[in-house]
C-alpha cells in the first residue's frame, strides 16, 4: 500500500506504453528470435514442432569452418569498402559542384536522384541487361572502341566488380544529398575570411570545407556502411552471388542458407545474419564514441 503509484505516474506509463510495445514487438522480439534461431539445431521437422535442441555455438563454428566463409568475408569487405570510397568521393565532388548554384543546377541535381528513386529490382534488372555478355550495351560500346567483350556477370574475375559498380551508382545520390545539405550549413563568412587571408581553392577545401563537414561525413559514411553491409537485392538479382560464389557476400550467403535451398538451414543462416548485425553494431558504437568525445 505504501508504494502506490500516483496518477501522474500511471499517465507516464500509459504514454510510454505504445513506444515500448512497438520496440518489443518489432525490434526486441525478432532480434531475440534470430539469436535463438542461431543457437539451436533446426531441421524442418524441429522447426515445425518447435523442439529444436539447443546447440550452443555449433552453428557459428559450422559457418566459420565452411569453405565459403573466407571468400564471403573478403567479398563483403571489398564490396563495402570500395562502394563507400567511391560513393563518398563522387558524392562529395558532385555536392561541391552543385553548391555553386548555377542555372539549371536544381534540375540537374534532381536528375542525379533518379537511381535512388528507382525500385531496386528495376535498377538491378537494368544493370543485368546492360552488362549481359552476349547482348549487353556495355560490351557493344567496348566493341566499338575495339576492346574485347568482358563477361561482366559470368566471369568469376568480374562479377564482384559488376555488382560493386551497380551499388556505387545507386549509392551516389544519397551521399550527394546529405553532403550537399552539409555544405550549405557552412557559413559563407568563413570562406570570405579565408579569401581575404589569401587562401587558394585547395587550401579552402582541405582547411575549411573538409574539417567543417566532418560530422556530416561521419554520419554519411556510417549510414552508407550499414546500408552496404546488408545489400542483398542488387547482388541476388544480378548474379545470385555467383558464378560459383565469386560475388557472394554475407547478406546473400545468409539468404542462401536460410531460404535458397529446398531444405533450409535456418540455424547457420541466422548465424551469418547475426555476424552482419554485430559488424554494423561495432561501427555504430565507434561512431557514438567519436561523437561523444567531440561534444564537450
Amino acid at each position: 500500500m505504501r508504494v502506490r503509484l500516483g496518477s501522474g505516474q500511471w499517465a507516464a506509463w500509459a504514454f510510454l506504453a505504445p513506444v515500448v510495445v512497438y520496440l518489443v514487438v518489432f525490434y526486441a522480439y525478432p532480434l531475440y528470435r534470430n539469436v535463438e534461431l542461431s543457437l539451436r539445431n533446426y531441421t524442418v521437422r524441429s522447426f515445425v514442432r518447435g523442439d529444436a535442441p539447443f546447440a550452443g555455438f555449433d552453428n557459428y563454428l559450422k559457418v566459420f569452418d565452411d569453405p565459403a566463409f573466407g571468400p564471403a568475408l573478403w567479398h563483403t569487405v571489398v564490396f563495402t569498402v570500395v562502394s563507400l570510397v567511391f560513393q563518398f568521393t563522387i558524392g562529395l565532388a558532385l555536392a561541391l559542384f552543385f553548391v555553386r548554384n548555377f542555372p539549371l543546377s536544381a534540375t540537374l541535381r534532381a536528375l542525379f536522384l533518379v537511381p535512388w528513386l528507382l525500385p531496386l529490382i528495376v535498377s538491378a534488372s537494368t544493370w543485368t541487361w546492360l552488362l549481359n555478355s552476349e547482348s549487353g550495351v556495355v560490351n557493344a560500346a567496348l566493341g566499338v572502341v575495339g576492346l574485347g567483350p568482358v563477361n561482366w556477370l559470368t566471369s568469376p574475375d568480374w562479377s564482384l566488380w559488376s555488382v560493386t559498380i551497380a551499388n556505387i551508382w545507386i549509392g551516389v545520390p544519397f551521399n550527394l544529398v546529405v553532403l550537399y545539405s552539409g555544405l550549405q550549413a557552412i557559413p559563407a563568412s568563413v570562406y570570405e575570411a579565408a579569401a581575404l587571408d589569401g587562401a587558394n581553392r585547395r587550401q579552402r577545401f582541405w582547411r575549411i570545407t573538409f574539417p567543417l563537414l566532418r560530422p556530416v561525413s561521419a554520419i554519411t559514411l556510417l549510414l552508407g556502411l550499414v546500408y552496404t553491409l546488408k545489400v542483398f537485392d542488387i547482388i541476388w538479382i544480378m548474379t545470385r552471388g555467383g558464378p560459383s560464389g565469386s560475388s557472394t557476400t554475407f547478406a546473400t550467403w545468409s539468404y542462401r542458407l536460410g531460404f535458397g535451398n529446398l531444405v533450409p538451414s535456418f540455424g547457420p543462416g541466422a548465424a551469418v545474419g547475426n555476424l552482419l548485425i554485430v559488424a554494423a553494431l561495432v561501427f555504430g558504437l565507434v561512431y557514438v564514441r567519436t561523437l561523444h568525445r567531440r561534444v564537450p
Binding site: 515445425v48 549481359n132 556477370l153 559470368t154 566471369s155 558464378p243 531460404f259 529446398l262
Partner: protein, 418 residues
C-alpha cells in the same frame, strides 16, 4: 462479460503478434472456426499459381469441386518460392491449409517435417498414376500426395536456323549428333544452343537430363559419366556453341534468347509452348538426347496435391473428396489443360495427344522422366543439388576444370548428406 471481453482482446493481440512475427498474409481462419460451424465449413486451399485470379478457369474448377464435396473453398495463390516457408510457418502455428498444392521436390521436405498425411491416412487413390511421376512424392515406402500434372524439359528448335545450316532435327539423337549440329549451325552464322545454368535449383534442373543421360547417378557426382556431362556443356561454351550468358540465365531469360530467333536450340519446358506459338518462327520439339542415343531421362516438374496434417482428423474426408475431384478421370483432363501440364495417368495422356498431336513429344518425355527426390533420396536431394549447380558454374566459368569441380562437389555432397 468483463473477463470474456478481455480474453478476446488478448486473443486479438496474440493473433496480431503472430501475424506481425510471421507473415503479413498469414491466414486467420482459426479465428472463425466456431462461426462457420453452422454454414458449410470453409476449406482452405493453397496453390503456387498466383497468376490465376478469382475469375480464372482454375479457381472456378476449385470452387466447383468444393460445391461437389459440400464445402466452401477459400483459395490463396502464393509465389512458388514463398510457399514452402509459408507452409512450414503455418504448420508450426497449427493452421496449415486443408489442401496444399506444392512443387514436387518440396513434398519430401514437407513430409520429413511431418506436415503431410500419407495416402494410407487420407485414403487417396494413386493406383492409376505413372510410377515415375509418383516417385517424387514417395519416401520410406509412403506416398504423400498425387501429382496434379507433370511437365519436363525437351529441346525446342528453330526450323529456319536449322534449314539454313542444313541440319535435320530428326538426326539429333545422341550427344555427338547434337554437337555436330551445333557446329554446323555456328559455321552457317547462326547461334547454337541456350539453356539455364544459374546458381539455383533451376540450374540443376536443367543440367540433370545431361547428367542422367550420360548414365551418371546422383549418389556419385564425380563418376566419369558425371564429369562427361559437365565437360559437354563446358566444351560448348569454349567453342562458342552456347553463349557465355547461360551461366546467369534463368529458364525465362534463356527462353528470351531463343525467342530472338537467332538460336538453333533451347532447352526448356512444356510451359513455354504457348510462347513458342507466339515466337514468330517455325519451331519444333525433340527429346533431349542421351549420350549413347535415345531420349535422356529429364527431371519431372509439376506440382503434387497433398493433404496437410490437421488436429481435427474429421476434415480429411472432405479434403480427400476435393483432391479426388481435381485429379480423377475427366477432371484431370480439365485440370491439366487449364494449367498446361501433361496428365499423370496413361489414359488422360492419350486423350491429350488425341486432342493436340503436338503434345506427343512431351508425353514421351514425361514417360521417361525421373523425380529429383526419387531413388529414395528424399531430403538428401537438395543437399546434392547445391554442389551440382556450384560445380556446373565453376566449370562453365572456367574457374575449375570439370573433373576437379565434380570431385569437390562430391566431397561437399557426401559431407552434407551423411
Amino acid at each position: 462479460m468483463r473477463s470474456s471481453a478481455s480474453g478476446r482482446i488478448a486473443t486479438g493481440l496474440g493473433l496480431a503478434l503472430l501475424a506481425a512475427c510471421s507473415t503479413p498474409s498469414a491466414p486467420s481462419a482459426v479465428e472463425e472456426a466456431p462461426a462457420s460451424a453452422a454454414a458449410p465449413s470453409a476449406y482452405t486451399i493453397w496453390d503456387p499459381y498466383p497468376q490465376y485470379d478469382g475469375s480464372s478457369e482454375w479457381v472456378r474448377l476449385l470452387e466447383a469441386c468444393g460445391t461437389q464435396a459440400g464445402v466452401t473453398v477459400e483459395r490463396t495463390g502464393y509465389d512458388t518460392s514463398d510457399l514452402t516457408n509459408k507452409v512450414l510457418l503455418a504448420a508450426q502455428q497449427g493452421n496449415a491449409p486443408d489442401v496444399l498444392i506444392v512443387d514436387n521436390p518440396v513434398v519430401s521436405t514437407l513430409a520429413e517435417a511431418g506436415v503431410l498425411t500419407t495416402t494410407a491416412e487420407n485414403k487417396l487413390d494413386v493406383s492409376a498414376v505413372s510410377p515415375n511421376l509418383l516417385g517424387a512424392g514417395q519416401s520410406g515406402g509412403e506416398t504423400f500426395g498425387v501429382p496434379i500434372g507433370a511437365n519436363t524439359l525437351a529441346l525446342y528448335y528453330n526450323k529456319d536456323v536449322l534449314d539454313k545450316a542444313g541440319v535435320d532435327p530428326a538426326s539429333v539423337t545422341d550427344w555427338a549428333a547434337l554437337t555436330a549440329a551445333l557446329e554446323k549451325v555456328t559455321k552457317s552464322g547462326g547461334k547454337g544452343i541456350t539453356f539455364s545454368a544459374i546458381g539455383t535449383e533451376e540450374g540443376s534442373f536443367q543440367f540433370l537430363p545431361w547428367f542422367w543421360g550420360s548414365g551418371a547417378n546422383l549418389t556419385k557426382l564425380d563418376s566419369p559419366e558425371g564429369v562427361a556431362a559437365v565437360t559437354l556443356w563446358t566444351d560448348w561454351l569454349k567453342k562458342g556453341y552456347a553463349p557465355n550468358s547461360v551461366i546467369n540465365n534463368t529458364q525465362t531469360t534463356s527462353w528470351q534468347e531463343f525467342a530472338t530467333g537467332e538460336y538453333a536450340f533451347a532447352e526448356n519446358g512444356t510451359w513455354q509452348l504457348a510462347n513458342a506459338e507466339k515466337a514468330g518462327f517455325p519451331y519444333g520439339v525433340i527429346p533431349i538426347p542421351a549420350k549413347a542415343g535415345g531420349p535422356a531421362p529429364a527431371p519431372t516438374g509439376g506440382e503434387f496435391v497433398s493433404i496437410p496434417v490437421q488436429q481435427d482428423t474429421g476434415r480429411y474426408a472432405a479434403s480427400q473428396q476435393l483432391v479426388a475431384c481435381l485429379t480423377n478421370g475427366e477432371n484431370s483432363l480439365k485440370t491439366t489443360t487449364t494449367l498446361s501440364y501433361i496428365a499423370p495417368t496413361d489414359s488422360v495422356q492419350q486423350q491429350q495427344v488425341a486432342a493436340d498431336a503436338k503434345l506427343g513429344v512431351w508425353v514421351e518425355a514425361v514417360k521417361v522422366a525421373k523425380g529429383r527426390t526419387g531413388d529414395d533420396l528424399g531430403t538428401k536431394y537438395p543437399k546434392i543439388s547445391e554442389p551440382i549447380w556450384g560445380a556446373v558454374q565453376a566449370a562453365l566459368s572456367s574457374s575449375k576444370p570439370p573433373q576437379e569441380a565434380m570431385t569437390e562437389a562430391q566431397t561437399a555432397a557426401a559431407s552434407a548428406t551423411q
